[in-house]
Symmetry: C2
Subunit: 349 residues, 2 copies
DNA sequence: TTGAAAGCGCTACCAG
DNA sequence: CTGGTAGCGCTTTCAA
């Protein structure tokens, strides 16, 4: 006598969610093709160490196609003990054009090296908590932008099998490779330039949009630092990215007694520059203006906008760093400064 | 007599890669805490169906902390049979500001609903091949921008357990929910506006940057279509995003005999507008200019740039659509047109 | 309150 | 050339 387990619906069939056809597995393919699961695996992975007759191969492929079989990445990863996923947490703010391009290039370069780059939607948690969430995915490498990770987080990732951790931020983190990229340099460059041009009462725009302090705070701090000890003042200028806010700021400009402004980036600078001119101020005579990022559009406005040009690391170079690090995880962490900053003096300062 | 397997290095120890300390598993935690793996699982997942004594809980947590234990997502997914990952293939081009913001909002909304959004770096393959690669990850939902998937691809994903497939493109795909979003509408809007303003010989900028044809081709086609049968001509104007290219185009402008131009988007439009004016042409008298995307910067240029405003679906609304679809996979696919297009007439046309 | 064990889907070893 | 099978790390019944 044999017994068979039968699934008993615990609700009337009419209210049950329609039984989703179960996802086909390699066992289903094997059954349909009349071979073993091992053979299926050999055929579908073109395992060269093993010879499978052509008719068998055809039967297996045919069965897989018929069932719409797709292998299960999690199972494969579990079995293999490693994957080729490179994890990149997404920024907590919408990406700007420079960063978008950088990520795109990096992704292209990595896929040419046969890695898969995955941008992981940060779930709001931070610090070691975030590092743990990333570690759960067992990526082969992690590329962390900003200051979202510390030595403890790096250790967590490495203990979980990450063969390379690379940070993209202002300072190297113990145990991780670093692409040095300090937003404060941008503020230093801008403030230094304005000071060199003879300006002494310098405003620094700070976007009011939430999350932007990630970039604006170091840029402001850099400006402050560059002028420390010099006979100059730095005034923080909160500004929302709207025409109205810019006009309002321009309207009370004369009362501020400033002779120069660093506009956070080219977009805010262009916005403010236009508002200042509309308010009757002369640029650069009454007020010098400088932006950052060297957007093409900044060159179109008149007067042409001075700016701080930022060179992000090339996706290719970073990809090759990651690849080397993965291949040789024992190597000492490298610090690179492919990021660089250069003042471009045009007409607005 | 018992035998024990011993791992024999096949190279001299000095040239061996340093044996990476194996990643701790829940079994290691159990061993260290002196309990079973089941207990570890109960404690770390706060399983409420089971009471574990407080001292035991502490011992387990302490052991986990000491080892730096992080659970293995692949194993958990495999066991659970499902995950809460929402897959979003990355665009084949760097994202623009509108799209970046949209993705950011969507991600935030999804994580509030307790899903994890993952942007998956497309490996260059396309069509059903790409769909299969996505299906390997067994995402609970897939959000596909553009025209990167057909009915066959949707079927593959659903057979692999995806409970919702949503496309973000010009037309609904069999079996998938759709957020209708046709770039051709932008071209239609722009061309219609220019024609209504009395222009008849209309140029359409087509960016030369690789990959942009994804967006520029439908915009051009939409413009052509809007003017079909009207007494108007459409001229394709290839343009690279550099000042030199814009100046070169402006230099031969009079020879082209055009009285209006749709600049692909605001950035190209601003670039070209400036070059045309520098070449001595009057805007809008000699040539009307219109862009698209309604960037704030377009309002700063003089004359103020006319534009086609594009409203992307809100991240929140899309997130709720995805969530509903996941909860009720049997529901008929919905088509929404939260995307909309409106001509904003300013001074340049 | 805790432990033993099955099994998710896959690949790689070894035997036939 | 092909099949049987162990085991990757985890959760979850069932039994003690």
């Amino acid at each position: 006598m044999r017994y068979v387990m039968v699934q008993i619906p615990n609700k009337p069939a009419s209210t049950m969610p329609p039984a989703p056809r179960p996802v086909p597995t390699s066992a289903d393919v094997a059954r349909l093709a009349g071979v073993s699961r091992a053979t299926v695996s050999y055929v579908l992975n073109n395992t060269s160490a093993v010879r499978i007759s052509e008719p068998t191969r055809r039967r297996v492929r045919e069965a897989a196609r018929e069932l719409g079989y797709v292998p299960h990445a999690a199972a494969r990863t579990l079995r293999a003990g490693h994957s080729r996923m490179v994890l990149m947490p997404t920024l907590p703010v919408p990406a700007g054009p420079l960063y978008s391009r950088f990520v795109h290039d990096f992704q292209g370069a990595m896929s040419r090296l046969d890695y898969t780059v995955v941008q992981y939607g940060a779930s709001g948690v931070g610090g070691d908590e975030a590092a743990r969430a990333w570690a759960e995915l067992r990526p082969v490498a992690v590329l962390v932008p900003g200051t979202g990770i510390g030595p403890e987080g790096v250790a967590i990732l490495k203990r979980s099998g990450a063969r390379a951790v690379v940070t993209l931020g202002p300072e190297a983190v113990e145990g991780a490779h670093a692409m040095l990229l300090d937003q404060a340099d941008v503020g230093r460059g801008a403030a230094g330039h304005l000071h060199a041009r003879g300006r002494r009462r310098i405003g620094v725009v700070v976007p009011e949009e939430p999350g932007m302090e990630l970039f604006s705070a170091p840029r402001l701090a850099g400006a402050r630092e560059a002028l420390r000890g010099a006979d100059a003042t730095v005034t923080e200028l909160p500004l929302a990215y709207t025409e109205e806010a810019a006009d309002a700021l321009a309207a009370r400009w004369r009362g501020l007694g400033l002779d120069a402004v660093f506009g956070y980036n080219d977009e805010y600078a262009m916005l403010l520059l236009r508002a200042l001119r509309d308010a009757g101020l002369r640029v650069p005579e009454d007020v010098a203006v400088i932006g950052a990022d060297d957007l093409l559009l900044g060159r179109l406005l008149r007067p042409r906008l001075s700016t701080v040009r930022i060179t992000l690391p090339l996706g290719r170079e970073l990809a090759s760093l990651v690849d080397r690090a993965v291949r040789n995880p024992a190597a000492a962490p490298e610090s690179h400064a492919l990021f660089s900053v250069a003042v471009v003096h045009r007409d607005s300062s």
